[in-house]
Each structure stands twice: as C-alpha cells, then as structure tokens.
Amino acid sequence: MKPPSRVREMPILRVIARALVPVILLFGLYVQFHGDFGPGGGFQAGVIFAAGLIIFALTFGVEALRQVVPVVLTERLMAAGVLLYGAVGVVAMFLGGEFLDYSALDPLTTGHYGQHLGIIVIELGVGIAVAATIMRVYYAFVGRRPGEDETGAEQALDAGAGREVS
C-alpha cells in the first residue's frame, strides 16, 4: 500500500525520519541491553524498536518496510522469541535446577553469573517477541484495503498473527 502522496512529497518529514529512525532503533537496543543494570528490559525495548520501524513505514511506505522485515519473518520471530524464553527455562531444568532457575545455568560459580546470563537471554527473547508482535499487529491492520475482506477469517485468528499481507 502506498502512503498518501502528500507525505511522500514532504521533504521535512522524510529528512527528519531518516535522521530519527536509526537513533530510535539504537535507543531500543540500549534499553534492551541496559535492562540488566538499570530501568529497561525487553518489553519497553521491543516496543521502542518496533515504533522506530513503524515510523519508517509511515514515511517511506509499508512496501519499503516489508522489504526490510517481511511479514512472514515477524510471524517467525514472534514464535522464536517465545521459544528462546522457554528454552532458557528448559535448559535450566536440564542442568538440574527448577524451571527458569537462572542460577543453574552456571553451576561452577556461586550463581551471580548465571543470573546475569539468564536474564539477558530471557529479555532478548521478550524483546524479539514484543517487537515482532507489534509489527505484526501493524501489518495486520495497515495491510487491509477497504472493501477487501470476504476471503479471510484469519486475521481474527490472532491479532498479532493475522492475514498474510501480500
């Protein structure tokens, strides 16, 4: 879907977006990985990261974003993020701890290292899943054209995993 041509012709928007998007994405990564030391974490970072990409789509068109992040990829990343989270828990179980017991991830030292490692990987999973879900929701709603509906019941399947936008 093409954005309204007026937006395309607005140089101010395009220039500012071009400057802002990388900063927003970088800030998303900062919030993600600084979550171990201060306020931050996967939820916030995922939303910020997705918001940066959505701003990109708003100014340069959904088509442009779709080339960078295909719709199928967001669907896969949603699942992969959740699985990454779960995998940490299951690995901890195999290493002899309880589910999600980060200390078990590092049986050699007294546990602080395992706690760090666990929370970083967990938050990475959360961040990936949240960013992908937000983008999928955006794709699902923005990919609809007026009057085009009759075929798919799928978008009700999951707000995040709706119809194929093609």
Partner: protein, 132 residues
C-alpha cells in the same frame, strides 16, 4: 468515617471509581464497537491506576538501588525509602494483557464490519434479525 474525611483521604480512589464507571458506562451505553473497545480500555486503565496508587509509599523514591551495578557486593542504600515496585511489575503484565485484548477486539470489530457492513451493534443485531 465521615464524608469530608473520606473525600480528602481517599481522593485517589474516588477518582479511580469515577474513571472506572465512565469506562463501564461507555461499554454499556454505546452501540459503536470501537467506542466499546475504548470504554473497555478506560475501565482497564482505572484498574491499573488502582495498583499504581497502591504502590506509592509516602516519601518513597523510585525503587532503583543507588550506585548502579555494584549489587554483587555491599548493597548500597539500605536507608533509602522506596516505593513498592511489585505492583508496577504486575501492571506491566496487565498492560500487555490489555494491549492484546484491544488488538483482538479491534480485529474482531474489523471482521464484524466486513461481515455486516457496519460497526454499530444495533444495526448488526437488526441485520441478524432480518436475515436469520
């Protein structure tokens, strides 16, 4: 407890209840599905504010250990009074639930619009009455 005391001491709760009733009223009284979703959002927001209000400790500061990342040894700032962080964490989850609910409700509203050609509940019901 007499009325002025209840109003001044618990003003936050009065606000919350008012907000909650506004949300509930919109859900009940509006026929437009999108407005219903908005009402539902206000209703949820009131509940989230309730938790956040509860977490406030008088004179307490944000629950971040001063001194940053040195929490491995010698926890700094034991004498600092913090607000209760737990309700905030819970509400992070509740907000996510709210977002998911809203997204799903909007997706359903879009489908209803596709099937009935309207987002008004009464028109959709009338359509069903007419077509069985």
């Amino acid at each position: 407890m007499n009325l002025p005391e209840a109003l001044s001491g618990l003003w936050a709760y009065w606000l919350l209840i008012a907000l909650m009733m506004v949300g509930l009223y919109i859900v009940i009284a509006r026929d437009n599905l999108i407005k219903k979703v908005m009402g539902l959002n206000i209703f949820q927001a009131a509940a989230i504010l309730f938790y956040v209000t509860m977490a406030k400790v008088e004179g307490g500061t944000a629950p971040i250990v001063p001194g940053g990342a040195d929490h491995g040894a010698g926890h700094g700032g034991h004498d600092v009074l913090y607000s209760n962080p737990l309700p905030h964490v819970l509400m992070l989850t509740a907000i996510v639930v709210g977002v998911a609910t809203t997204a799903l409700a909007l997706a359903l509203a879009v489908r209803i619009h596709g099937d009935y050609g309207t987002s008004e509940e009464d028109e959709a019901v009338a359509y069903d009455m007419g077509h069985g």
